[in-house]
Structure formats: structure tokens, C-alpha cells
């Protein structure tokens, strides 16, 4: 089985050994993209964290809407001006509100949003713990009655 698993892993792994071939890549970059890959990566990451305001839950990185294109331009302009990621996000948040951030900020109106899943996890865990301890007592009392072959 181990050999079989290894073969599978290698097969899967082969898909990641991915050298980027650059032979004669003559396609032009889309207007406004950075020549510097670090800056370009920053722009893409930021674009993914910002919501296209007129679309259905898409980020500005993946929207064809004209507004998304404008916002991409704005982000790239600010990166070119040397602003930090947080500064850019704050700038956009001041202009468009929390709605533009894909990740809702943790603040008074949203603490319940962030905590709720973990509160439920804790509550469900607590109920389960009670159920287990009750079942354990029941099992112990069954054992003490010498009914062991259940």
C-alpha cells in the first residue's frame, strides 16, 4: 500500500514542479500592470481583498465592470505613489465604507459575526461534554449492576 501511496503522491507532485517557460512570450501586458513582479503581486493581492461595489460578491480583481476597472486603476496608482497596503485600504474604506472590504473588520457592529461560529462551537462542545458525562454515569451504573454483556 505504501508503494501505491508513494506513486500517487509522485503523480500528484509532478503537477507542481512547474518551471515557467518564457520562450518568446511576446504578449503585451494589460495596460497599467507593473513591470516589477513584487508590485504586481501586491496589486493583485489587494485587488482580491476589495469588493466590486456593483457586482454580486466579486472582487475587483475578477470583475469586468467598468467601476472595478476604475478601482483597479486607483489601487495601482496608490501603489505607484508608494502607499502601504493598509493606507490604501483605509483610503478606500473612508470613501466607500466597510462594504468594499472582502474581509469585514472586527468592530462593534461585527464582533458577533466573528465570534458566533466559535461561540456555537463552544456551546455545542459543552452540550456534548454534558451528554458524554451523563452517558458515562449511566454506563458506570449499568456496570455496577453487573450487566456487562451489552
Amino acid at each position: 500500500m505504501k508503494r501505491w501511496m508513494l506513486a500517487l503522491l509522485l503523480l500528484i507532485g509532478a503537477n507542481f514542479a512547474a518551471p515557467v517557460l518564457q520562450d518568446g512570450a511576446k504578449a503585451a501586458a494589460v495596460e497599467g500592470s507593473f513591470a516589477d513582479p513584487v508590485q504586481e503581486a501586491r496589486a493583485r493581492t489587494l485587488q482580491r481583498q476589495l469588493r466590486c461595489l456593483v457586482c454580486q460578491g466579486q472582487s475587483i480583481d475578477e470583475s469586468n465592470a467598468p467601476l472595478a476597472a476604475d478601482l483597479r486603476g486607483l489601487v495601482r496608482q496608490q501603489i505607484a505613489d508608494g502607499r502601504s497596503d493598509d493606507q490604501i485600504k483605509d483610503y478606500l474604506k473612508a470613501r466607500y465604507g466597510d462594504f468594499i472590504l472582502m474581509q469585514p473588520p472586527l468592530e462593534q457592529a461585527t464582533w458577533l459575526l466573528w465570534l458566533a461560529p466559535f461561540l456555537v462551537l463552544g456551546a455545542a462542545g459543552g452540550v456534548a461534554w454534558l451528554a458524554v458525562s451523563r452517558a458515562r454515569k449511566a454506563a458506570a451504573s449499568l456496570d455496577s449492576q453487573n450487566i456487562t454483556n451489552l
Partner: protein
């Protein structure tokens, strides 16, 4: 004429569903055989009239009978046959009729199979009758698909082009089989509460085939929806945490919890009331999902024509169904309580933990979906809950659940031994370790999250293989569970591969230009015009190059659907089975130059393959269940034994 026939059938079905509701609930009493016979007959009649109504609507679509408003709005004469048929349910009115058709199928199955004894069956039919009546009233008063259109247009408006696609055509029936299947589990749970002990004892066993069918079809439906989004939307993504996707994920999570909790109820009489509550919860999630999608509370390709009265009606329906069931639960459940006795290290505890994590992950999806709506309604503040939220809340909770998955089936009921259970699983830990090392050594860029996902997948796959080898020839249930759990691992590999290691290229290309993405080199050869039956397309020819040799040509497309005046991008995907090369044609930049997006998604096909494997596990479990009752058990056995090899 055909429209009136359909409308009349719906009215008859409504009358029969009311008879079924009454007779069914009366038939829950011990000595009321007459009522039970009436309920059975009403169920059959209900089935026939719903099939008639659905047939009438389908016929109208096939004939392009534009005197019916829904046909005129969703079909054209030029629409290919398959999309004339799928157009039946690709709009609000028709999809509600599809819901009824599936409900009629389940009702018929409940009546004919008669699982769980006559009293449980009658009570379950009674509850199905109540639900059917409520939905039929909804259809007749707010969303009849048989309304006339005056004057009758010469040509229809046509189906939303995004939905003119095989995946989108199959997605709603699959999903509805899941949603409505949960209504059958709900009906059995309510029946158990109505009937009470001792006759309610077998309800979990009786409802199991329905739970399994619901779960299998939900799994397929969600996977189909995700696959459709992947190849249609043109951004290489497969899950967007869109409210509509979430609406289908929530019932799936609860249904999964229900399937596991019901195991303990069935085998050990444990968690009786909890399982009942989950059955109620699962269907509640289906209803809430339907409300979200149909009411216009959220907008998406699914919100056909949103209408506040419909939303209000569904909200009332939710309140009645869920409220009624919970009241029944509060009243009757205490009498059903059975004291379960088990040690903290036991399969029971593992199933409880499964439920704890599934409920919490469902809570994350629930809150993430509804919180923005509630906040907006109460304070007017608009926030977005996007993928990062789920990455922080849902992902770790679900990931923790995955770690425990292999242990459950290995521990004995009542009192297990962790050391003994772990011993045969050590090789799987080895596989997980090798996976981490392999990923960190080979994959670029280095990613700890990716390595973690691979370790988990290795652990799950390894333990599943061990389990399958051990269970060869043993009971079906364990084998089926191992397959389903392996499916989780396969999907996880796909999700990790695509999310962490996807590479992409975005460029403006003219004829002859080359573009590199991942290990591939592409050459753009220009655009040609294509005329479809109901669209005009512009198709790119893009060569996949090996040096100067062309190894393949891919043809992504931009289509304009003439009747609807809508642009649709058709992606071109070339897969090795373990890696997708994905091309989407962007906009026309003039002078024969176009934007082109290319993605290389490692392991992407595994996302949906894993879902299929999970569904296969469910199907094997279902086959094992039904085999017990089949007259010739030998017929199925050799096939299953081969599958076990």
C-alpha cells in the same frame, strides 16, 4: 387548454394533499386502518396529478406555447430541445413545480415502501401532505406557471444564456432531490414525535434511505453547481461563498451531521432527541436556503424574478413548519428520551464530536450569509462577508473535523480503545508525513497551508485504504463510509492544489503572440466568427506549443445571445485529469487584439471527483440498505464484491 389542464391538476393535487394530511395524521392512531388506506390512496392520487401538471408544463415548453407567460419569458422556438426542457425549471414558477414533482416522488416512495410500520408511514404521509398543501398554495397564489399571456407573442424572450448549459440544466433537479429529500426525513422525524414510543423506535432506520438519497443528491448538486461556476464564470474559481452557494451548503452540513447522528440512534438508541432535532434542522436549512434564493433578499443568477410577497409567503411557511415541528418536539421529545450509556472513548463520542464540528461550521456559513442582511436591516450599515471570513472561521473548524474522521469508524460502540484503534492507522500517519515532505520539497511556492492540507488528505486517504482492505467482504456500511471519507480527501487535494498553487497570466494578445502560463506556452492565432442556433459567437484559436510544434488547439469563445442580448464567455479547458489549463477570452481591444486570461490549476478536477467519490460512498451505503429488503440478495452481491477489490 394545456395550461388549464395543468392548473386544474394542481388544484386536484392540493385537495388530495389536504386529504392526505388529514387521513395521515388520523392514521397515526393505533387502530385507524381506514384512515391509513385513505392516506395511501390520496398519496397515489397526489403523485399522479403532480406528474400530470409537470407533464403539462413540459409539453407547453416543447410546443413553444407562448400563450403561457412562463414559456414566453423563458423559451424561444430556436432554443435547443434540451434547453426547452431545462427551461421548465430554470425560472421561479417552474422550479417550484419541479420541487412539487420531487416531493410527489418522495411521497409515493414513502407510501409504497411503508418503512417503519403502518403508523409511522401514515404520520409521515400526513406531514408530507401538510407540506405539499403549503407549497401548492404558494404556487397557486403567488407563482403559478400556467398563467396566460395576452396578447400571445410570436417569439419568447428566451432562457438566460448562462443557464443554457448541461451543468446548469442538471443542477436544480439534483439540488431539489436533496432539499426535498430532507423534507422526507423531516416528515419521518415529525411522524416519530406524533406516534411516540414504542412504535417510533424504528424511525431512523425507516428514514435512512431518504436521508441518504438527500445527501447523495445534495452532494452531486453542490458539486455540479461549483463545476458550472468554474467553467462558466471565467475566473478559474470554483467556490465564491456566494449566498446562494451557502444556501445549498448549509443543508448539506446538517444532513451530514444527521446521517452520522442517526447511525448512533439506529444502532444504539443513543441521541434519539438530538437526531430528531437534526432532521428538523436539516429541512429548516433547506427552507431558509429557498427563502434566501427566492425572496430577493440576495441577488444572483438564481433570483429569477424576485417578489416580496413570495418572500413573505416562504417566511410564513418557514415559521409554520419549523415552529410547528419545534413545538411538537418540545411537547413530545421528553417522552422519547432514552438514556444512552457509553464511555468517553467510544464511537458514540466520536459521532457527537462530528456533530459539534459540523454544527459549528454550519453556524459559520449561516452567520456569514445572514449577518450582513440583518445588520443592513437593523442599522443600515453595509458590510461584505467575503472569502477571507470563511477562511478564518469555517476552514479551521472543518479542518479539525477532518482530523477526527478516520478514528470514528475504528472505535467500538459503547467502549472503545484508542490505542488499539490507532495501531493499524500508523502507516497513514507515515503517508501524511511523506505528503508534507514531498509538498515542501517539490511544490513552489512553498506553502504551509498547502502542506497541511496535503498531510490531512494523506491521513484521510491512507486510513481509508487501510479501512477498505480490512473491510473487504465485511458489512457494506463500513466500506461505504471509508469510500465517502476518501472522497473528502480527494476534494481536499483539489481545493488545496487550486487555491494555493494556481498560476495565471493576463495579457493583451494579437495574432501570433505568445503567452506563457505555468509550464505551458500558448500562441494566439486570431478570432473567427461562429453562428450558433440562438447566438453569435467569436471564437479564438489558441495553440498549445511545444517549442515550435503545435500540440493542441484550444478555442475559448465570447457569445452574444441574440434574443436576450447578453454576453457569455465560454471557457476552454484542457485537463490531464490532475491539472487544468483554463482559457477565457476577455474583451476586444481593437485591431484584432483581445485580452486573454489563462490559468493553470493543479489538481482542480479532484475537487469534483472527490464529491463524486463521496456520493459513490453514499450510494453504496444506500445499496447496502436496500439490499436487505430485496428479494434476491445474491444478484447484487458479486458486483459489490468486485467493487471492494
Amino acid at each position: 387548454m394545456i395550461g388549464e389542464l395543468g392548473q386544474l391538476s394542481l388544484c386536484f393535487a392540493l385537495a388530495l394533499s389536504l386529504v392526505m394530511a388529514n387521513a395521515g395524521i388520523l392514521g397515526a392512531q393505533p387502530a385507524n386502518d381506514t384512515a391509513r388506506r385513505i392516506a395511501h390512496g390520496a398519496a397515489m392520487g397526489f403523485f399522479v396529478f403532480i406528474v400530470l401538471a409537470f407533464g403539462a408544463l413540459t409539453f407547453a415548453y416543447l410546443q413553444s406555447d407562448f400563450s403561457l407567460r412562463t414559456v414566453a419569458e423563458n423559451s424561444t422556438t430556436a432554443q435547443p430541445l434540451i434547453y426547452k426542457i431545462s427551461a421548465v425549471w430554470s425560472n421561479h414558477e417552474g422550479s417550484m413545480l419541479l420541487w412539487m414533482l420531487v416531493m410527489a416522488l418522495y411521497t409515493g416512495a414513502i407510501a409504497i415502501a411503508g418503512r417503519g410500520g403502518p403508523r409511522i408511514t401514515a404520520a409521515a404521509l400526513g406531514v408530507m401532505g401538510l407540506l405539499a398543501a403549503a407549497f401548492l398554495l404558494f404556487i397557486l397564489f403567488t407563482s403559478s406557471p400556467f398563467l396566460r399571456f395576452d396578447p400571445t407573442p410570436f417569439e419568447g424572450a428566451g432562457l438566460n444564456p448562462l443557464l443554457q448549459d448541461p451543468g446548469a440544466a442538471m443542477h436544480p433537479p439534483m439540488l431539489y432531490f436533496g432539499y426535498v429529500g430532507l423534507s422526507a426525513s423531516f416528515a419521518y422525524a415529525a411522524a416519530a414525535l406524533i406516534v411516540g414510543l414504542p412504535d417510533s423506535e424504528g424511525w431512523a432506520r425507516a428514514a435512512r434511505p431518504f436521508m441518504l438519497t438527500a445527501w447523495i443528491t445534495l452532494t452531486c448538486g453542490i458539486a455540479l453547481g461549483s463545476w458550472w461556476a468554474y467553467y462558466t464564470l471565467g475566473w478559474g474559481g470554483f467556490w465564491f461563498w456566494d449566498a446562494v452557494e451557502n444556501a445549498s451548503l448549509m443543508p448539506w452540513l446538517i444532513a451530514t451531521a444527521l446521517l452520522h447522528s442517526a447511525l448512533a440512534t439506529e444502532a444504539r438508541g443513543a441521541f434519539r432527541t438530538w437526531t430528531l432535532l437534526l432532521a428538523i434542522g436539516g429541512f429548516s436549512m433547506s427552507l431558509i436556503g429557498t427563502f434566501l434564493v427566492r425572496s430577493g433578499a440576495i441577488t444572483s443568477v438564481h433570483t429569477f424574478a424576485s417578489d416580496p410577497t413570495r418572500g413573505l409567503f416562504i417566511l410564513i411557511l418557514i415559521a409554520l413548519a419549523v415552529g410547528g415541528a419545534l413545538a411538537l418536539f418540545a411537547w413530545r421529545a421528553p417522552s422519547l428520551q432514552g438514556g444512552a450509556a457509553f464511555e468517553p472513548v467510544s464511537r458514540e463520542t466520536m459521532l457527537l464530536l462530528n456533530n459539534v464540528f459540523l454544527i459549528a461550521s454550519c453556524a459559520a456559513v449561516f452567520v456569514g450569509t445572514l449577518y450582513p442582511l440583518a445588520l443592513d436591516a437593523m442599522t443600515g450599515q453595509k458590510i461584505t462577508v467575503g472569502p477571507p471570513y470563511y477562511a478564518i472561521t469555517f476552514a479551521p473548524i472543518f479542518f479539525a473535523l477532518l482530523a477526527l474522521v478516520p478514528l470514528g469508524p475504528r472505535l467500538a460502540w459503547r467502549k472503545g480503545n484508542l490505542k488499539e484503534a490507532m495501531k493499524p492507522l500508523y502507516p497513514a500517519l507515515g503517508v501524511a508525513a511523506i505528503a508534507v515532505i514531498a509538498v515542501l520539497a517539490i511544490a513552489s511556492p512553498k506553502s504551509l497551508a498547502g502542506a497541511g492540507a496535503f498531510a490531512m488528505a494523506g491521513w484521510l486517504l491512507g486510513t481509508s485504504v487501510i479501512e477498505i482492505r480490512k473491510r473487504r467482504g465485511a458489512r457494506m456500511a463500513g466500506f461505504a463510509a471509508a469510500i465517502a471519507h476518501a472522497g473528502l480527501a480527494v476534494s481536499l487535494l483539489g481545493i488545496a492544489g487550486t487555491t494555493v498553487w494556481r498560476s495565471e497570466a493576463l495579457a493583451v494578445v494579437g495574432a501570433g503572440d505568445r503567452l506563457a502560463v505555468g509550464p505551458y506556452t500558448l500562441r494566439f492565432n486570431g478570432i473567427s466568427n461562429v453562428d450558433g442556433p440562438n447566438y453569435q459567437g467569436r471564437r479564438a484559436a489558441i495553440d498549445l506549443m511545444d517549442g515550435d510544434k503545435v500540440t493542441a488547439t484550444m478555442r475559448p469563445e465570447q457569445r452574444i445571445y441574440t434574443a436576450e442580448g447578453q454576453d457569455v464567455s465560454v471557457t476552454a479547458i484542457r485537463t490531464t485529469g490532475l491539472r487544468d489549463l483554463y482559457l477565457a477570452l476577455g474583451d476586444d481591444r481593437g485591431n484584432g487584439r483581445w485580452t486573454l486570461r489563462a490559468y493553470v490549476s493543479p489538481l482542480a478536477p479532484l475537487i469534483w471527483l472527490g464529491a463524486l467519490v463521496m456520493a459513490l460512498g453514499g450510494a453504496l451505503s444506500l445499496a447496502g440498505r436496500l439490499r436487505v429488503r430485496a428479494p434476491e440478495p445474491k444478484a447484487a452481491a458479486p458486483v459489490l464484491a468486485q467493487a471492494a477489490e
